[in-house]
Symmetry: C2
Subunit: 253 residues, 2 copies
């Protein structure tokens, strides 16, 4: 067995996404890589798991020479499978991405990219989700890959606290530097476009725009991105709101 | 227009689930209720959203006399639709459940029930996810409904801080009382059962058991449930790990 770290690479854009290939290329410098992803896009799948049908994972053509598996599950399913009986080793690291589009602020709770990273952290290994703030099909990943290498080198040297992962968002173009940030307080303002199908039935397309509730706060991830810095947000799985917890002690049940 | 609060009731077990009906029955005491849910189960859908196909919501036969909509989306999609153009009012409260089975500890990140409650809180209204720690089809909801009413009465009187919702888990049988708790530190230990289909191809069924990393901690939700108390955990959408954030300032990029 190799003494190099065993690195699981996954994403939510699917097995054919260019960002996945770019991430594999970087990770091959750091260890033995295995890829698992889905045939189709799993964008927006959050931490969803599949409970009502069985999962399949089949080995397919290698990506950049590394063993590659196609799964019919969500990003979290794929990570779970990878820690259970799919390989003869369990991953030492989970990296997810490079996502086509940012996953800053509240997008962390909807993102399949971050779902996979969060799941990796739950398996007790350092995990990172990488996203590039560029949806275009011709996105330039060259500078993003240098950032990925720099950040992963730090993860390798310093580790991460148990049950904590990193949400890394990379701006378009040449980043000015890397900033450790907190999650921006903001939300998606939805707009649904109502249409009528050829059979006269209504349907709704989800769209919307992001509303930043703390414009100009220098310690937030959105601010970093807007100013061409890479944002690194440590993400924990404890969703308890401790401040509210104290207030609730006064409630009368 | 009615001056009673407008209460959105949803769940992740689908429109036919008994827990949904039970919740509607309680909520009718507190205001004007509208129901939206899916035809099939959305268990484990987390905060997933549907980005690759349009959403449909159609009015169907009333549940207990209240307007009821069937959606083809996830619990979060259904909440988003309900705040956007589906009704002539926007909900004042979002309640989700009563889930068949507990959503304590780390299950909060996988649960569709809690996905809906979290989404409600993002729309700025007090939101609660209710779960009964009983998967059986013959589960007794009678005592759970009293708990739901008690907790909702408090939410009505005290409100909740913005972007915070409650994760309420109710034990089987007669609860000894209600405890405000934090999320238990624990995880699901997966076990995949590997089988072979009639065509000779492998598939995997997800199963597993819960591993509690802090057995006996009186302030946790699992401890409350195990001791026949109702657990109430305030849940926030800021996933930043502030402790790690400080540590990361020492990293060299």
């Amino acid at each position: 067995m190799s003494d190099k770290p065993f690195i699981l690479v996954t994403n939510d854009d699917g097995i054919h996404a260019r960002g996945l290939q770019e991430l594999v290329e970087v990770m091959k410098f750091f260890g033995d890589v295995v890829v698992i992803s889905s045939e189709t896009s799993m964008s927006g799948k959050s931490c969803a798991i599949t409970v009502d049908q069985p999962l399949r994972a089949v080995e397919i053509e290698k990506i950049l020479g590394v063993p590659t598996y196609k799964s019919n599950g969500t990003p979290v399913d794929s990570v779970k499978l990878s820690f259970n009986s799919l390989f003869d080793r369990t991953p030492d690291f989970v990296v997810s991405g490079i996502n086509h589009g940012a996953n800053s602020s509240i997008s962390v709770i909807y993102s399949g990219t971050m779902g996979a990273a969060i799941e990796g952290s739950l398996h007790g290994v350092p995990s990172v989700g990488f996203s590039l703030d560029d949806y275009s099909s011709g996105a330039d990943f060259s500078k993003a890959k240098i950032i990925v290498a720099k950040i992963f080198q730090n993860v390798l040297e310093n580790g991460l606290p148990p049950f904590t992962c990193l949400n890394v968002n990379i701006p378009k173009g040449k980043p000015k530097g890397i900033k450790v940030c907190r999650q921006t307080h903001g939300k998606w303002m939805e707009e649904f476009e109502k249409r009528t199908d050829p059979h006269g039935r209504e349907y709704h397309w989800l769209s919307g725009y992001f509303k930043n509730f703390e414009e100009g706060s220098a310690e937030t991830d959105i601010y970093a991105l807007e100013n061409n810095f890479v944002s690194v947000v440590p993400v924990a799985v404890d969703m308890t709101c401790y401040k509210t917890l104290e207030e609730l002690q006064n409630w009368k049940f």
